[in-house]
Symmetry: C2
Subunit: 219 residues, 2 copies
């Protein structure tokens, strides 16, 4: 367990094949989104909130979410910014490049995809210029939860075949540092589901219908 | 100052008329967004990160961002969720209902606006059902930064003429409690700029051009 001992004491749901709409899951997270955490009677949604909860509960080493006023603010700044920037454009790129054509059998207008990839590129530039700069990690010299949140999102377009690291050596070097810091095996395990998404069989009609409202958010 | 003494010691930029693209402002926030904070040599972007920084720096009373593991996780959960839910749909509703037609002189397709308002309604329902529930405030019995972040976003569609509280007595009662907790004068001051946005004169061609890429994000 990355952030501390005792993974058997908390349950997280991180599946991608619709369990998040089951009655049991909705009890844990009424927002119907993965991941969600159940720790005894306490349930919690939102990956950022879950990471901070685990870091606090298991008293993770300081670098994950530093106590220092300014160092912590740098992590908070990234965690806040990424929702409508990196996260949004990575998710949209994955849906438009893979989920729509492969899984839903729906064409995405080329200009829509082009705009999405341009927006993703703009976000990656900001990620390098404003956050990474000449540091080893996004919020400073050591790895923090900001890096975990970032790499998880960046692997979404990668899973759809966008090699976002190819033309960005600085970002590629950062990715290598993150992988080394968490360990190759854990890195692979963490992204195994998303990296297999392109091999999903096309969705059946019922799934397509259920995904329609969600999918529209990514066009 | 809501969160503690010493407002003269930090500068925040919260304007809405383009100062955020000036050279001076970009020095403070390379993301070119308001608000931004400058505290001595330290600069910080993202309203959520700024609120948490101020709460910590000025040791705000515990209820704003509670120390308790689960109580704090509840606040973090809201702060994380709202970015792509309440914040996104409130901003989109304001742009589509006011900024496009009044400020940019651009028509928004009725079905686009209808979808946006339906999504806003879905978010408000989740806000009531998942967060507010039968509590006085969003993350528990006392006001927290979650309520400040929420009310600020909800006043965006209100400024555009969407009376989102009219059909939602539970949410309207919460709004009254937030207003009472922060004080009427401060509440009015905090929303003065956004409530006047509808009286802006139509943008000139240069401003329209500059706003185009941003505006497209809200269609």
């Amino acid at each position: 367990m990355l952030l501390g001992p005792g993974p058997e004491r908390v349950d997280t749901g991180t599946g991608t094949s619709g369990q998040n709409h089951s009655d049991d899951f909705v009890q844990v997270n009424p927002l119907r989104k993965v991941p969600a955490l159940k720790d005894g009677d306490f349930t919690l949604a939102e990956s950022v909130a879950i990471l901070l909860y685990l870091a606090r509960k298991y008293e993770a080493p300081d670098h994950w979410y530093p106590q220092g006023l300014q160092a912590r603010a740098r992590v908070d700044e990234y965690l806040s910014w990424q929702h409508t920037a990196v996260r949004m454009s990575c998710t949209r790129a994955m849906w438009q490049k893979m989920m729509f054509p492969v899984f839903l059998g729906q064409r995405v207008p080329p200009e829509t995809l082009a705009n999405t990839l341009a927006e993703l590129d703009r976000c990656l530039q900001l990620l390098e210029d404003k956050f990474l700069k000449d540091q080893d990690f996004l919020a400073g010299p050591r790895i923090s939860v900001a890096d975990l949140v970032a790499i998880t999102e960046l692997m979404h377009p990668v899973s759809a075949g966008c090699d976002i690291f190819k033309s960005r050596p600085k970002l590629a070097a950062w990715r290598q540092r993150v992988e080394a810091a968490v360990g190759e095996d854990l890195f692979r395990e963490a992204h195994a589901v998303i990296m297999k998404a392109k091999d999903l069989p096309p969705a059946d009609t019922a799934v397509k219908e259920r995904l329609k409202p969600l999918a529209q958010l990514f066009l």
